[in-house]
Amino acid sequence: MDRERRRLIGKIAVLAEEDVAPLFRLVGIKDSFVVGNVEEASKLILDLSRREEYKLIIVTSRIAQKLENLIANISTKQIYPLFVTIPDRTGPVARRIEPVRNLVRRAVGFDIKVK
């Protein structure tokens, strides 16, 4: 008996710097916002997170770093929106493997080596 899997349609939002957001808009993500400072970004993230239709929020790395705590907070309280950090034009993202390793280390009790 096939269980009916609920498929929901959601929206995407992007928070990026002034030189990156327009590109996302041109690709076809209408809700691509330019954020200049931390307050703006926090307010925007909180607002988007409260609205159920936003299921994915893409944030560039510099902004994500500053809002690390806020994002972590929201992620523990609700599943959606999912947050993804992407590298901005200045280079690669700070390795996010580290906090995950800590999580695993705490959960498992021993450290793991990831190649």
Binding site: G10, L23, L26, I29, I97, L103, I112, K115
Partner: protein, 209 residues
Amino acid sequence: MELLRLRRRMELAQRAKDLLEEKRTVLVMELLNLLRTTRDLEERLEKGLASAYEAWTKARAIMGEKPLRSISTESWDRFSLETATKSIVGTQVPTMKFLKTMEFGEAFPYDLTTTPAELDKAVAELERILDLIAEEAEVEAAVKSLATKLESLKRRVNALEYIFLPRIEHNIKFIQDHLEEMERESFFRLKRVKSSLERRAREAETVNA
């Protein structure tokens, strides 16, 4: 009776613990798998994004300020997200997929004749990595869910191993010691009764003799 019951409970608890530890091993392996996937994804994402950004920078250099400003506010709503859940080793994790609701030809946000080819390249490159972004979101969410599940499993295993099982063992030992003591006591009592019976029997004999 109590002893039998306790022994049964200990056996069950032991088996439960073994099962949980097995589950924990499976989770750890799956988690390691996911972490490896995430590293690979991040690499591909970085490469794709770098190439998109490069084309974008070139395009903007060619275009100059005014045309740039006018397209900077252009946008179209071309994608939506399809979300569902799936199960990994017994845990529910979200899935997401980009759905294209419009093809490249329809309702274009800029004029193809007045913009450089690099612009199209930048847009195409970015579109190509959108799926990677969705996949990355999936994997990260899965890692979080599994790690949480792992932590709760660890707590349950520890509770069984350090609290529940020792307590049962202790109770079993207590009852066993007690039974043993009672047995010893009754043994000696029997001995005493036996020896006094023997004495009386001997006395009776000498009287009759």
